[in-house]
């Protein structure tokens, strides 16, 4: 229980709401705002004022969402600490992304009920309210407990415990080396330590990969269909939805918005967005539609760039292509049932190209598979497993654990003395302990005594 550090969490209910709020409480709240929030005019944030602006990913400079932000300076806030609220427009994914950026700024994910706890500990709410707080925390704890038990039986927990086990074994070797200098302890220990740490790190990598997948499975991905008019975008959408139905296309040049449909692809919820056909239009309204379509590119997890193979690669195609440099793209070459009239340019090597005919259905299964594999690398979806690791707390813990292991490996290579190496491993254990529970010194001693013959 760290009282002084800065914490962050999503404070609105999970799901698709009109608005989502990320809260940051603690001394670093203002620093987080400074790092992530860009507003139109210069100057800092005044306390208790709403500001309009954007959240920007500092690493890429990408705009994540348009937001309203308010900073409440201590003690005039819910927690009586500096409290930052970021009101996002977007759905759950965007709110998650904003939280992630906050966490990457060095703040810690809040424990369940921690904002309320701080409010109480800082004297913001009274005793009667505190009773209610206990109830709130209890209900969350019970959920957490149920989750923990669920995990204990599950595959996931087995894997996290295996990580802990590896680290604890490595630590036991280091500690034995420190505490029993007079014993003839095998010198092979050094190799074993490296082995343990390597496989623990690899396992964490794998789990974190699973985390991303788990998140995808729970929250779905967005796939944007993009292409100039008449390349078969709507029939592609119909095909992916596996049903013939009229796409609500209004009078050309009037409503040029984006159509959104959700389809399940082998356990992966895919939100397909069909855009108005992009064309270098002079018409102002149509230009607006084009602008909106292009605007969707950064928010999409995957772009299906549709080409008509019966017609030559045009300037219109090229201008769309130019917008896709930073996206994940599958090139869909449609109308292969017709004579080929296109000479496709060279695409980046990591782009998949799929030939389809939306008329005959040729290649559609392959396209579905390609979309799914883009996200899940062909792995089967075990809903339970992904559901558990889609928790930020676990991810947070594993990321920190991994960082400690990296530090350990670097320090080991630099031949730092063993008690410093032990510090790194203890940190790693502490972080993984947020998921598995603490590893006590006795656990480590147990390992030493069972592995080595020790005694004077």
């Amino acid at each position: 229980m760290y009282i002084r550090d800065t914490i962050a969490a999503i404070s609105t209910a999970i799901g698709e709401g009109g608005i989502g709020i990320v809260r940051v409480s603690g001394a670093d709240a203002a620093a987080v705002a400074e790092r992530l929030f860009r507003k139109t005019n210069d100057g800092g944030l005044q306390s208790h004022r709403f500001y309009y602006g954007t959240i920007v990913d500092p690493s890429s400079g990408d705009c994540v969402d348009e937001v309203m932000v308010v900073l409440m300076r201590a003690p005039r806030s819910y927690t009586r600490e500096d409290l930052l609220e970021i009101h996002c427009h977007g759905g759950y994914l965007v709110v998650q992304r904003v939280l992630e950026l906050a966490l990457l700024s060095g703040v810690r994910l809040a424990q369940p009920g921690e904002f309320t706890k701080r409010a109480f500990l800082n004297g913001r709410i009274d005793l009667v309210q505190a009773e209610a707080v206990i109830d709130v925390i209890r209900s969350r704890t019970d959920t957490a407990l149920a989750l923990a038990q669920h995990q204990r039986e599950g595959k996931l927990s087995g894997r996290i415990f295996a990580v802990r086990d590896r680290i604890a074994s490595a630590l036991a070797l280091v500690e034995a080396y420190i505490d029993f200098p007079e014993e003839d302890i095998d010198t092979a220990a050094g190799v074993a330590i490296s082995d343990h740490i390597r496989s623990a790190a690899a396992e964490i990598d794998d789990l974190l990969c699973g985390f991303r997948e788990g998140k995808l499975v729970r929250e779905g991905v967005s796939v944007l269909i993009l292409g100039k008019p008449n390349v078969g975008k709507s029939s592609l959408l119909n095909n992916l939805l596996r049903e013939k139905r009229a796409i609500v296309t209004s009078q050309p040049g009037t409503t040029r918005d984006v159509i959104e449909e959700v389809v399940n692809m082998g356990g992966l919820p895919v939100r397909i967005l069909d855009t108005a056909g992009i064309r270098n239009a002079d018409d102002l309204v149509e230009q607006e539609g084009v602008r909106r379509a292009l605007e969707r590119i950064p928010g999409a997890d995957l772009v299906l760039f549709v080409l008509d193979t019966s017609r030559p690669f045009s300037e219109e195609d090229a201008s769309i292509l130019a917008e896709l440099r930073r996206s994940r793209v599958v090139v869909v070459r449609n109308k292969i049932d017709q004579p080929v009239g296109i000479e496709t340019p060279a695409f980046p090597a990591e782009w998949q190209v799929v030939d389809v005919s939306t008329m005959t259905g040729t290649g559609m299964d392959r396209l579905r598979q390609t979309i799914r594999d883009t996200f899940l690398q062909g792995r089967a979806v075990d809903g339970r497993e992904y559901a558990t690791l889609s928790h930020h707390r676990h991810r947070d813990a594993l990321v920190r654990c991994h960082a400690s292991l990296d530090l350990f490996a670097a320090n080991l290579a630099a031949a730092l003395s063993p008690e410093l190496l032990a510090c790194d491993l203890r940190d790693a254990l502490r972080f993984v302990g947020d998921v598995t529970g603490e590893t006590t010194p006795d656990d480590i001693l147990d390992r030493i005594f069972s592995a080595f013959c020790i005694g004077k």
């Binding site: 229980m1 760290y2 009282i3 002084r4 424990q111 369940p112 009920g113 921690e114 706890k117 109480f120 500990l121 005793l127 505190a130 707080v133 206990i134 109830d135 925390i137 209890r138 969350r140 704890t141 957490a144 407990l145 500690e175 420190i178 505490d179 029993f180 200098p181 007079e182 014993e183 003839d184 003395s417 063993p418 008690e419 410093l420 032990a422 510090c423 203890r426 947020d434 529970g437 603490e438 006590t440 010194p441 006795d442 480590i444 001693l445 030493i448 005594f449 013959c453 020790i454 005694g455 004077k456």
Partner: protein, 622 residues
């Protein structure tokens, strides 16, 4: 009972390593003190190996010394081989160890006790506490004498209902050659204490004249020997070597052939033994793949031929012992002077103690040493010192002294004991200390001298000399921050040697010292002031500069934990009334009854969520 006509402030029962420190501390702090022992010729006797210190134990001795205890000085005066272990590892895990002249060690300690003002040293077996309606009044002895005292410190060692085993033969004894203490543990049980049974063992003592030392590998001490005590200038007595020998497959065959007559394996022994100090039969059974086990043949003293083969304790029958010891190369003709044996004894689970070592059940009663389920002279001495200090403070109506886990190994040990209890003999390891980098041997004085002085235990002159050292360290830390190495004023050869030629800015001495390849030995070549500093000051500054990053990290963790450690849980706290705790956590808390939130956090199975609930409930009360 015939009542003795004096009333003592502190009565200490038992004159082993815990009892001696307890009695000296109380008397030095101004209390009228009585030290009772079953055998006046066995004061501070080393019942097992003739050595002080070792990993984590050396740390304890330095801490005892820093607070004003005697153990460090006693071994400095009577040690016959001094070594610093882990010299090639970092400063936090370096530890001092010394072989003692066993008889000299006990004789010197007895003399120190005898010359201590306000301290009476008497022979007598305490058979019961005198309890008057639950209030402690003193002790009664086997000889029919009643001693009155305001506080009592029990340091019973292995004596309470001690039972010695050699093979299937067993007989009552507190130690080979001494009577057991009978009656006291029954009374404690009747008074409501949970009393358990532990086991430990010791190897045979061998006749050095019958050992072929030429065929063994000698191990010498450090030259020059480095003393334990911060107050000892240098060790003057000459040093003697130990020798290393090994068991072999034939030794293990012999051991196995005697297992059917082992009290351990035949179930005669019910007490739990220490895993880190297993008997040789335990090692052979548990690690059958090992074809040899190492032993250090340690001298028991300069004036005796007796030697102690470490790591070879056993409770096997004497005929197996004869054959087994003689199976070792170099020991083919060896004569056993005292057989190896195991001993079972009663202990009182320390979970029934406050962090002051006062029992929760009986006020003014303190427990220290093996009665708390620990093992080791140093562990015992550390507890004895704290029990003596706290008994004295209690009599004087002053605040108790409790050391934190971030302040001392003694603090870690006592917190472990009173928070988690003990199920097997507890030994100190550096891995038990989460703030290991802060708790070094080298800075024990910086950590604890001030406290020892504040309670009136540390003598004025030792405190003054410490203050001088502390000032020098402070000044030197400041100086290395300010003083710089510049390319213009430094010998070019030196700059070349340490790759400093091209540097753009002047380098502070601190930055230079931080380099792994740089110590004061290099620094003093270009820095005159460094040459004039005492070695202890240089060492301290060097460590603090080099390890600052890691030390700061641990200090940060200490800071975070402080809030938990400082939040007290009332004695009678009702966990049942607290909604939101799982049954498992509630049962644990009810059993362990932690004094603080910090202690609660160290109980296995108490989750962060449970701590949150608890802390909120406590906040509500305050």
């Amino acid at each position: 009972m015939i009542q003795y006509d004096r009333t003592y402030d502190v009565i200490v029962v038992g004159a082993g390593h815990a009892g001696c420190e307890a009695a000296l501390a109380a008397a030095r702090m101004g209390c009228q003190t009585l030290l009772l022992t079953i055998n006046l010729d066995a004061v501070a006797l080393m019942s097992c190996n003739p050595a002080i210190g070792g990993l984590a134990k050396g740390h304890l001795v330095k801490e005892i010394d820093a607070l004003g205890g005697e153990m460090g000085k006693n071994i400095d005066a009577t040690g016959i081989q001094f070594r610093i272990l882990n010299m090639r590892k970092g400063p936090a895990v370096r530890a001092s160890r010394a072989q003692a002249d066993k008889q000299q060690y006990r004789l010197r300690m007895k003399a120190v006790l005898e010359h201590q003002d306000r301290l009476d040293l008497k022979q007598g077996e305490v058979t019961s506490l005198r309890l008057d309606g639950g209030e402690l009044r003193g002790v009664d002895t086997r000889a029919g004498v009643r001693y009155c005292g305001k506080t009592v410190v029990l340091t019973t060692g292995t004596f309470m209902r001690g039972l010695i085993h050699i093979g299937l033969t067993n007989y009552p004894g507190g130690r080979a050659g001494d009577l057991p203490s009978v009656g006291l543990s029954d009374q404690l049980r009747d008074a409501g204490f949970e009393v358990g049974r532990l086991k430990t063992g010791t190897p045979a003592r061998l006749d050095g004249r019958t050992i072929d030392f030429d065929r063994l590998e000698p191990q010498h001490g450090d030259d020059p020997p480095v003393p334990f005590s911060f107050s000892t200038e240098r060790i003057l007595q000459p040093q003697v070597p130990c020798h290393i020998a090994y068991t072999n497959p034939r030794s293990h065959e012999i051991i196995r052939s005697g297992l059917d007559r082992s009290p351990l394996y035949s179930g005669v022994i019910e007490g739990v033994g220490p895993r880190y100090c297993p008997s040789i039969e335990d090692k052979v059974v548990r690690f059958p793949e090992k074809d040899r086990h190492q032993t250090f043949i340690e001298p028991e003293g300069r004036d005796t031929v007796e030697v102690y083969p470490s790591g070879l304790s056993t409770s096997l029958p004497i005929d197996i012992q004869w054959a087994f010891y003689r199976s070792i190369e170099g020991l083919e003709r060896v004569e056993i002077m005292r057989p190896a044996y195991a001993i079972e004894y009663d202990y009182v689970d320390p979970i029934q103690l406050h962090a002051t070592l006062e029992t929760k059940k009986v006020r003014n009663l303190y427990h220290a040493g093996q009665i708390n389920g620990t093992s080791g002279y140093e562990e015992a001495a550390g507890q004895g010192l704290m029990a003596g200090i706290n008994a004295a403070l209690k009599v004087q109506g002053k605040e108790p002294l409790v050391l934190g886990r971030d302040e001392a190994y003694i603090g870690v040990m006592i917190d472990d004991l009173v928070t988690l209890g003990s199920r097997e003999p507890y030994r100190m390891f550096t891995s038990r200390a989460e703030y290991r980098l802060l708790l070094r041997e080298d800075n024990a004085d910086l950590r604890l001298r001030e406290k020892g002085y504040a309670i009136g235990l540390l003598p004025e002159e030792e405190y003054r000399s410490f203050c001088r050292k502390r000032e020098q360290i402070g000044e030197e830390l400041e100086r290395v921050r300010r003083a710089r190495i510049t390319t213009s004023t430094t010998d070019p050869a030196f700059l070349r040697e340490f790759d400093l030629e091209g540097m753009q800015q002047a380098l502070s001495l601190e930055q230079f010292l931080r380099r792994p390849d740089i110590t004061y030995a290099e620094l003093e070549r270009v820095d005159e002031v460094a040459r004039t500093l005492p070695a202890a000051v240089r060492e301290q500054v060097e460590i603090q500069v080099k390890y600052r990053g890691y030390i700061d990290r641990q200090l940060e963790q200490v800071e975070r934990a402080r809030k938990l450690e400082g939040t007290r849980i009332p004695d009678a706290f009702d966990y049942a009334s607290l909604s939101g705790l799982s049954t498992e956590v509630r049962e644990k808390l009810q059993r362990f009854r932690p004094d603080t939130l910090g202690q609660a956090s160290r109980i296995a199975g108490v989750t962060p969520a449970a701590l949150t609930i608890l802390s909120i409930a406590l906040k509500g009360r305050g």
